[in-house]
Subunit: 559 residues, 2 copies
């Protein structure tokens, strides 16, 4: 059997390697336009930040061999044609027309099965000055090499990142870590719009600004300006001119589908190649996977485009299984996305608030702040967690951020969501507990408990964003600060007329609260506020709530 795979970075080599293990006799050929194959593109920001010293580290096996065409031939009996572009698929003849980019020669590769793993390319906005020196994307190892060489040679002190998505923030972090002054321009009103709801993004934005990032939201870049040598020297935006020596364009990626489109294969609504659960296109002899293919969202059932190496690897395995005649299907994705930047761990899984509403769910949401380990353990750190559930209590999504360990907790929730679990199911999880790893009631369980209390209407939480808006518009909301003196002095609520009664004095002093007031109890993270709200409800206050996430969240608003 002849198998031709177009694309040599992630899904392609994975398909080839798995297929080789299953079918020792198959003839497997991988066609790759570039020189490099099987590299960890996700590691490029780490190379930029010097955490990964050499670019070759990204294409070396764990046991120290370079994954080049020779390696694939010798170790896996897989033929790699790099520097080779696939020009056309001739489906009738089952051939691929390819061109050797070194010699210029064209030839036809016959196939029994064809696999498209053509990946993605950066979206480049039609921006005047885009071709100036010092303007780059961060997509291919060559981009990273040039960027880094430029940094070294030119002693860059100011750089601008256009786009505040995953790659944009990773790039901004990598440069900021080298004491370069960074501006980030984002067209939308928030960072990481594909990862976070507005309220979670707000926390990250405040954190970035505290770290010295010049963050510009709702900012339209109009042009890039060059100096007399043709080097970029400024970014012109509707928020003014930003002096800069380097520009990274991080305005997203799009699937590479030209070959598929020209061959008459169906594309989906997302623009990526449409595949069934076996990763098969509308041609039964052609599979597609990885960043060029569309996925199905497990909760909404809708087609989505979430290009990720993890998904590409899974799909490569499934394609190989299918070719070898084994049963295997790709069920879909939850849109899990994670990143590390500015010393925070961040991510989401499942549906965000707006997405969930758009998909027809009636939802409730809860936001808590807590610790990833017992607070007496010296290495504990904080994290903020937002949960989205439907009215029946079924969990639909989770978002996390902070210096603490939140990513694997997100994985726990991902797993639960994939099984259709509810908030009550979260409470019942027998998660591992020891002081270095968790609190006795782990923060994900605490989050689920809190949202379940809200769902059962036991006590009302109010989110910082809503409170902020209502305080601006209404009178008569009584903010009750129940923290201890030292906490209040360290981080005061910067609003007139806050009533301060530490929780320990509330049972004596609750009559100081105006009986007809709408009370919002505030503490550091929400737990004491919740307790105060419970107490006041018991004393007959009818309109009482606590601030979800407490000052840990509120601080982002009042700054």
């Amino acid at each position: 059997m002849k198998v031709v795979i177009i694309g040599g970075v992630a899904t392609g080599p994975k398909t080839a390697a798995r297929l080789r293990r299953l079918q020792p006799e198959a003839e497997i050929t991988v066609v790759e336009e570039g020189e490099l194959i099987s590299y960890g593109g996700c590691g490029l920001p780490l190379y930029l930040s010097n955490l990964v010293p050499q670019l070759d580290d990204l294409r070396t096996t764990a046991f120290g061999l370079l994954r080049d065409p020779l390696y694939f031939r010798e170790h896996k009996d897989i033929e790699i044609l790099n520097h080779t572009r696939a020009l056309a698929i001739e489906r009738e003849k089952k051939e691929v027309l390819v061109k050797d980019l070194v010699t210029g020669q064209e030839r036809r590769l016959p196939y029994d099965v064809l696999v498209l793993a053509t990946g993605a390319r950066p979206v480049l906005p039609p921006l005047p000055g885009r071709d100036l020196w010092g303007v780059s994307v961060l997509h291919h190892p060559e981009d990273a090499r040039q960027l880094k060489d430029g940094l070294r040679q030119r002693n860059v002190r100011r750089a601008t990142v256009i786009g505040a998505g995953l790659i944009g923030l990773e790039a901004a972090d990598a440069l900021a870590a080298q004491r370069i002054q960074i501006s980030v321009c984002e067209l939308q009103g928030q960072v990481l719009a594909k990862v976070f709801d507005r309220d979670m993004a707000k926390l990250l934005e405040t954190h970035m600004v505290r770290r010295g990032i010049d963050l510009r939201l709702n900012c339209r870049v109009q042009a890039l300006e060059g100096d007399e040598h043709g080097k970029v020297c400024a970014v012109l935006t509707d928020q003014g001119r930003i002096e800069t020596e380097l520009v990274i364009l991080a305005t997203g990626v799009m699937p590479r589908v030209e070959l598929a489109r020209e061959a008459g294969l169906s594309l989906g609504v997302t623009g990526a190649i449409q595949v069934d659960s076996r990763q098969r296109t509308n041609d039964p002899w052609i599979y597609a996977g990885g960043d060029c293919a569309e996925q199905k969202h497990l909760l909404s059932g809708k087609p989505v485009y979430v290009p990720l190496a993890s998904t590409g690897n899974k799909q490569g395995r499934i394609i190989a299984d299918q070719i070898a005649g084994l049963e295997a299907v790709f069920q879909g994705v939850l849109g899990t996305s994670v990143l590390q930047a500015f010393e925070w761990n961040m991510g989401r899984t499942g549906l965000g608030e707006e997405e969930a509403k758009e998909s027809g769910f009636e939802i409730i949401t809860g936001l808590i702040s807590g610790h990833d380990a017992t607070h007496y353990h010296p290495f504990h750190a904080s994290l903020t967690l937002k949960l989205v559930a439907d009215r029946s209590g079924r969990l639909l999504g989770a978002q996390v951020l902070g210096p603490g360990e939140g990513i694997k907790r997100l994985d726990v929730l991902t797993t639960l969501i994939q099984f259709g679990g509810s908030l009550e199911d979260v409470m019942g999880l027998d998660l591992g507990y020891a002081p270095p790893f968790a609190t006795a009631m782990d923060v994900v369980i605490h989050a689920a408990n809190t949202l379940e209390n809200k769902r059962r209407k036991r006590v009302s939480g109010i989110q910082a964003q809503e409170l902020w808006q209502r305080l601006g518009a209404e009178k008569g909301i009584c903010l009750l600060d129940v923290r201890e003196r030292e906490e209040v002095e360290n981080l005061p609520i910067k609003i007139q007329g806050v009533l301060w009664i530490p929780l320990g004095e509330l049972r004596q002093r609750w009559r100081e609260i105006p009986a007809d007031a709408e009370v919002v109890a505030v503490c550091e993270r929400g737990i004491r506020g919740y307790e105060a709200a419970c107490f006041l409800q018991g004393r007959g206050f009818s309109e009482v709530a606590y601030l979800e996430g407490g000052m840990a969240v509120w601080a982002a608003y009042q700054e």
Copy 2:
């Protein structure tokens, strides 16, 4: 409503606090024999190791208040009677007879609902010399205080821990970190018998010995010997005399059930108090939870005794809900246990190999070794993962150890097991991927893939333990080392007649392998061995396997 709670450490205060939030009017009284309440007993080894500087840190809230009786009264309107022993439960009258240990006065506390949260106590072996100075348990803060004072005053250089369970290993680690020479005596043939199967324990044992621990398995301690001042100076065992200046007895804990037993409440087969899924004893007005109560194992359905603060906290919440008339049940446990010691993270969930067999499952097991992050990320670390599944592919248990992040991965598998998930379900999990957090194919997915390959009889793995035994007993097994030169030189296989063919040369040189040999392919972690085995199967070798976990596991055997 009058609610009396006996036990003031974990489950008791949790029950009281939740109940207060649900029922502002309830009269809640907690009876505690000792002085201290609501302390993090699990943190005592951290105090011993100086990671937690003060004992009071273990009973301070995250916002800095000491959780003493005054705190509970002022903040939560909960009456704490410490220094007060519950002597008897008079179920007919619904009263508890208590004695003030300071004044000696006795009195009766009437209750509408009684909660037993009496906890556990250390099992003390009937050992001559047990009362010598310098012999201690590590259960109560007072034990820890005395131990640490002793260490400071006496400049201890040698200590012995009796028992290699969780507490024993945490204590040994805490002392070893202070450059004290540690002996660990364990009656059983392995460490952590309640956590690990034999093969996983073996890896930890080798690691401990490498770290300089004098580990004695199958070792029966016969007596403790004192010097002329009545201080312990030696441990006498059937493996000889061990000079020592300090002894920690860590031979397990047992539930405190005297009160319950004398009141005629039912105990379970484990010796702990029997409760239904509402945490109710056979007296409908008496609940029990935490370390004094029995749990149900979610997979075997059998009663088990796994005392943990996480379980106790969940149960306290459920008891409070029940008392307040809310629906809430405790489904059971998976026996998840985790710990950190000797700079390794370790744990298990679900059923171990033997337990699963005893529960009537026909099982398959797989062991892999991998990294917790991309190998090019500077902070990646290794971990070894063992999975247990039934023949249908349903996951039954997981065990993990190593310096890498394995604990939250265990939580992912815990979650999956609680939903009855299979190996195929693991493969389909949309786990978060970014280079600092995982490999593109996360190690739990890799483990599931590997075991699924084995289940489908695609290729055979052999476990180090079995190979070790068979090499001792049989001829004709050909060990094929497929690693690179540098790896072989750094860590050779210490057996005669190993055939060395790097994987990259195997396609040329496979005819060097005797055609009728039973081949076991060996690499660093199992991946290349697996690949070699696939290749040789394709070349007609009928008896071929790869060494699961590779040299990362084998090293423990040949040392």
